[in-house]
């Protein structure tokens, strides 16, 4: 469950101050499939960074599953990201020197899981995205769609309570993008919370609920 209470994020650029998020209130229930939509510069990325615990709000409160995130240290934030959040990025963000399965294994290593458990979970995640045959490939030996599926598998393997996807179909053609969205639907159907950040109304429309952002304010909740 995600709760924003009066959250602001302020950037100082010389003399000017920019409110990337301006007194935002937000509730996302567990198990919801929500898309956050807005044009570039609307504060989407800032919102995603705060939801993903990569950044902290300057004002207001952010509760993730009831945890007061803004009071957490860098180390605690890393633990929250590791266990509660599964990131999926527009440019996949796989580590190029690691094979597909090693990329998937990485968050599990940080969780301190045993080798056996890591193997099980990696195999399970690979099967879910249907890429078991390509587990030894390096990212640059995989197509964009395959890379994104590996990235989703990496998010799945750590069993997060929240999947946070930032333009996951942005670098893909519409057919491959459709396959990726299919996986998010499956994740949602399995009871996971999915938050999708996009500027594409068509993609956003696939979510149960859309949250519009403009100039750092929540504009419309549909």
């Amino acid at each position: 469950m995600i709760v924003f209470r009066d959250v602001s994020k302020i950037y100082h650029m010389g003399e000017e101050t920019l409110r990337a998020l301006d007194h935002v209130d937000l509730h996302i229930q567990s198990g919801e499939f929500v898309s956050i939509i807005g044009p570039s510069g609307s504060g989407k990325s800032t919102m995603m960074n705060i939801i993903g615990c990569l950044d902290l709000p300057d004002e207001g409160t952010y509760l993730l599953d009831g945890l007061p995130i803004e009071r957490y240290s860098a180390r605690e934030l890393a633990h929250v990201r590791n266990r509660k959040i599964g990131f999926v990025f527009q440019n996949f963000n796989l580590i190029s020197s690691l094979s597909a399965e090693e990329n998937i294994e990485l968050p599990l290593i940080y969780q301190g899981l045993s080798l056996r458990e890591r193997r099980e979970r990696v195999a399970e995640a690979l099967a879910r995205v249907d890429l078991t045959a390509r587990r030894k490939h390096l990212p640059n030996q995989l197509s964009g769609g395959q890379q994104q599926r590996i990235a989703i598998a990496r998010a799945m393997a750590s069993r997060p309570s929240l999947f946070l996807a930032d333009e996951p179909t942005g670098n893909l053609d519409s057919r491959t993008g459709g396959q990726i969205m299919e996986i998010f639907h499956e994740l949602h159907d399995a009871g996971n919370t999915v938050v999708l950040i996009t500027h594409d109304p068509e993609v956003a429309a696939q979510a149960d609920r859309r949250i519009g952002l403009r100039d750092g304010r929540v504009e419309e909740v549909l």
């Binding site: 960074n49 993903g52 990569l54 950044d55 860098a74 180390r75 890393a78 633990h79 990201r81 590791n82 266990r83 990131f87 990025f89 963000n93 796989l94 580590i95 190029s96 020197s97 690691l98 090693e102 990485l106 968050p107 290593i109 940080y110 969780q111 301190g112 990496r154 750590s158």
Partner: protein, 392 residues
């Protein structure tokens, strides 16, 4: 976690082999230089020390340069030896003679001396006996010969009772030294030694005087330094306090001097090799800094999926350590081979000095930590958002 970090480090190093090898080369050369140079110096110094010890370290040798018309006779030396605080004293005169026997002929070193010489030089007899007081008193023609000389001119070593000729005069062999016993002489022609009574040498060789010009004195009951002091007093009294009348040399000074030379030498060479190891460490730091910048994105990804600052720091630190340790191990292996080859070629057995090998491992570890810490810390402090956005 550490094991995982080592695996990750190996993986990332394997993905950039040439860079890894070149960086390691600095450490390899440093460790190689350190281990080989110091092992060689230690090996050489221990072999030199052995040779010096064989010459007798608890020995004072005295040469008379100007006897002020008070020449020292053998009787004076006996008196000196019997006086308080003195140890053994043996007159020494050296010459070369042509030694011949049925089996062969050779030029040999001849030492004219007295019975105490054996103990002073720790000579070991294989058979027979050494010179004794009656031999000296009666200037008999008897000789103690060393192993090499026996083999050369008689063809065997059980030759007590045989007769040899020194410059044409017959001598009865009364003793044979063990192999490698006796004064060591650096000679291409072999090490031939023959010991005869001092008085006999005086007769045999006209340049040898009855006046003793050179003698050895051993340590008395109060030690070598006290003996040296007494000896000096005795000589000063005899030669009217003319310091230039004699030259006195305490052999223990040789080993002291040798030790200090080799210590300085191994510090110097070790220091130079240490500096090259340090330069290797700077190479590691340099390449780690490049690597941290290049892998900014990777660091961002790792942080996003849950790596703490500590685990990023550990990862890069372990990478630096792996470079320095693998480099160190390769350096050790290479230096082991180098020293085996040097041992094969040369006479002296050097061997890798274990303490310097251990030291080089510790030093490499220290360098890995020292020069890896800064880049690793830099990597761990990278903010995740900016790092994720980085496109290098």
């Amino acid at each position: 976690m550490i094991l995982q970090s080592v695996k990750m480090a190996l993986k990332s190093l394997r993905s950039n082999k040439l860079r890894f090898i070149l960086t390691m080369l600095g450490i390899i050369i440093g460790v190689f230089a350190l281990v080989v140079l110091v092992s060689l110096v230690r090996g050489a110094s221990s072999s030199i020390t052995d040779s010096v010890n064989e010459l007798g370290t608890d020995l004072i040798s005295v040469s008379i340069l100007d006897d002020h018309s008070h020449p020292i006779r053998l009787e004076d030396l006996s008196e000196l030896a019997d006086s308080d605080g003195m140890g053994l004293v043996a007159a020494v005169a050296e010459s070369t003679c042509s030694a011949s026997a049925p089996h062969g002929q050779v030029t040999t070193q001849v030492t004219g001396t007295t019975s105490s010489y054996r103990a002073l030089q720790s000579l070991k007899l294989e058979s027979g006996r050494f010179l004794m007081k009656p031999d000296v008193d009666n200037h008999t023609n008897v000789a103690v010969i060393n192993h090499d000389l026996a083999v050369k001119i008689l063809g065997r070593t059980n030759v007590v009772g045989e007769t040899i000729r020194l410059n044409g005069t017959s001598f009865k062999v009364i003793g044979v030294l063990e192999e490698n016993s006796g004064s060591f002489q650096f000679s291409f022609f072999g090490n031939y030694q023959c010991y005869i009574p001092y008085t006999t040498l005086v007769r045999l060789n006209e340049t040898t005087s009855r006046n003793v010009n050179s003698f050895y004195a051993g340590a008395g009951p109060e030690g070598l330094d006290a003996t040296e002091e007494r000896l000096k007093n005795w000589l000063d009294e005899r030669f009217q306090h003319d310091n230039d009348a004699y030259f006195l040399f305490n052999q223990s000074q040789i080993s002291d001097a040798m030790n200090s030379i080799t210590r300085t030498l191994s510090l110097l060479l070790g220091g130079i090799a240490g500096i090259s190891l340090l330069v290797g460490g700077i190479g590691i730091m340099n390449i780690m800094l490049v690597s941290v910048t290049e892998r900014t994105k990777e660091i961002g990804i790792r942080k996003a999926i849950g790596a703490t600052r500590g685990s990023i720091l550990l990862q890069f630190l372990v990478e630096a350590l792996v470079i320095s340790l693998i480099g160190c191990i390769i350096g050790l292996i290479l230096s082991w081979f180098a020293i085996q080859i040097i041992d094969l070629i040369g006479k002296v057995r050097y061997g890798v000095n274990p303490s310097i090998a251990l030291l080089s491992v510790l030093f490499s570890l220290l360098i890995g930590v020292l020069f890896g810490l800064y880049p690793a810390n830099k990597a761990s402090r990278k903010p995740p958002i900016e790092s994720l956005r980085y496109n290098g």
